[in-house]
Symmetry: C2
Amino acid sequence: MYNPLLLPEVREMLDSGDDAGLIEFCTALHPGVVAEVIEGLSNDDIWNVLSHCDVNSRVQIFTFFDLPKQEDLVTTTDRKRVSALLEEMAPDDRVDLLERLDPKHVDLLLPLIAQAERSDIRKLLSYPENSAGSIMTTEYASLPQEITVEESLRRLRRIAPDRETIYYVYVLDDQRHLHGFVSLRQLILAKPDAIVADIMDHDVISVNVNDDQEDVASMLGRYDLLAIPVVDDQNCLVGIITHDDVIDVIQEEATEDAHRAGAVEPLEDSYLSTPILTITWKRGIWLLFLFTVAQGISVVVDSYKEISEHVEWMGTFIALVIATGGNAGSQSAALVIRTLALGEAGPSDWLRIAAREATMGLMFAAVLSTLGFFPAWGLQGWDAAIIVSATVAIMVMWGSMIGAMLPIVFKKIGMDPALISNPLVAAIVDFTGILVYYEFAQFWLTPVVETLPH
Amino acid sequence: MYNPLLLPEVREMLDSGDDAGLIEFCTALHPGVVAEVIEGLSNDDIWNVLSHCDVNSRVQIFTFFDLPKQEDLVTTTDRKRVSALLEEMAPDDRVDLLERLDPKHVDLLLPLIAQAERSDIRKLLSYPENSAGSIMTTEYASLPQEITVEESLRRLRRIAPDRETIYYVYVLDDQRHLHGFVSLRQLILAKPDAIVADIMDHDVISVNVNDDQEDVASMLGRYDLLAIPVVDDQNCLVGIITHDDVIDVIQEEATEDAHRAGAVEPLEDSYLSTPILTITWKRGIWLLFLFTVAQGISVVVDSYKEISEHVEWMGTFIALVIATGGNAGSQSAALVIRTLALGEAGPSDWLRIAAREATMGLMFAAVLSTLGFFPAWGLQGWDAAIIVSATVAIMVMWGSMIGAMLPIVFKKIGMDPALISNPLVAAIVDFTGILVYYEFAQFWLTPVVETLPH
């Protein structure tokens, strides 16, 4: 990634015991860069490098490893070293790591961690996955209402080293109720003897600790905030979620949706670091389901034996009539799922969306059924041309409609619209398409079939 | 979105000419909230509300409208009002808007704008779309190296009102070469008489003005930065890109990829605000292409007339053999495209990825060809069972491999891997699948066909 040339240098410093060089390496570079460089070392060597920096840098570098790597590192060293690290980690990063570990391992670690951190961990672990509570940090900066700006800056200076950010400061009363918000920029620009309550914003945009992380992310993004405060049902501040965590959430949700669009149960880690059996399983269940639908199509086709026996070209156009509807359906699903994910539209817009899809479906039907008519006519004559172009027309409209409406129905009943994967829509449309094709053929060809010898 | 109940109140204030109420409304709420509330008003009423706040709030509220709305607002009012607004807008937001306007309209506006802003606009407009230059702002905070912390804070106070952020400050020499970086947190914690050059970080993570916006976004996200400096080829600072713009880029790129995955040319605006003919076109070209592939499949099937005439059940399993390979291909494509987009893997990992896909393909082939065997046997006997299960096995492996390798090839030759949409992979696999199916059938059944009467 950053500078692969540094790794050999680090190896050499390790081999020659160049402590001064390693200390310099750990502190001069951005901790994220250090993590990238030393990721290629053995776990023992990584711990060795980390032992050369102060605890603050060590924690920062460690946090830049991805979670599978963090897990690997803490499960292959002694518990005292791990507990010392955990004590200093940011509360949100710490909980992300602990959630991955074997509960038995966590039970061995917790007694080694100081009481204050331990109860913070227990509390954060109690929030449901994907909730605001599960991604927030408890290390926020706060101030009382009635102090001066000068006093505020003095206090911020004191608490700065332990806080995730001091650029956004929340104004609380003794019961930690959230009354206002002031940015460090406002404090710096204000007169030193001004009172915080007089310069703060009273209209604080906040989220509830039980809100979904996706909604939190879209709210922070919508209002261009650096951090968003998290409150409980009594409007007491319990944590904050910062912009960098929101970027992670957005990437995570986009990955989930991209996987779902390809009919894969979302992977939690990266493709390359997920065990192959896990991926096989997460693809397999969907592949199996879609295979079963396809088997159903075979059974349907088989049940129209009578037509197939007399009309040999029916098989010729099966792929054409089903694929086209499925493709139109995939398109609608992709558009509507993304619009719902971005919050640009909701279930209440269903009629507008249906009207748009109907209009587009009609246009596609007109063009594609015309284009489908002539080759079918050329290959197999009039009957084929009429049946193929009628089926294409119907399936394109039906595909567009069902691809757009199913995600809205899912959203409405509280399920993730992204569950409507493109292949799932295609399978549904394929299945109905084959019925339409054969039913229409049966209707159109009945006089033909009846006059043919059995 | 935020509070739909406020809109009637605003209407009433407008009707009764309650200026004090409108001023209060514009300043007490977050500008993003104000924008959401008044979006439902007519353009005239929106301008009326905006005229009640100072120019700073006006610009902020205006910037929170989405771009189609901004365009609509500036093209339906007089030019003087628009130029006054443009002068005060953040450089990056201003250019985003101007890029959407009719060039003739821009030519009329530019002469009304002050010289300094005009040349800033011209410069930013010159950067290619999707480059770092096209999304950066030129309103960054910078300091010389040799001043004290105390003097730095004094200067920051002075420039703060015009800067996008003062939390990250860049340390430059007289030629604007980027020498270091210091955060406001560091400045606040440092001794007042310390020299900036002594406390700054020397290892500044920066991007080039021509870098792709997606790479910029992933870099800011990877290192948890609040802003990233943009330099030219001489390492001179030309702008910064802040976390909120990066969130927009990430959402935009995820939308692009989601649209592509559904075989839609990416829409630039939201689904509901894009004209229906534009969407029809962006879907139509792909639908037409895929339709042509499907037509090709019909021609292929038709060319195997001889088999179809003798073996009536060939049509029965067409959907099954092609869909399964296509689904496996969609899955691989979805996984690999996303992994490439996140930078978790690159073209150099192709062998590892190929090995994983081959392993998974084998497992899927084993399970699905077994599951496909028995129904085919039950419906049509031994020959069908053998041909169907062999084709399914081959196609699942082929689909997995091609779905994974095509995005890597595209990435390698500098094209967007996301161009490999799920339906495109499915179409390619469908086409090859039909060939495999009929060729294998021809091979297996030749003795049968030859003994049958013509």
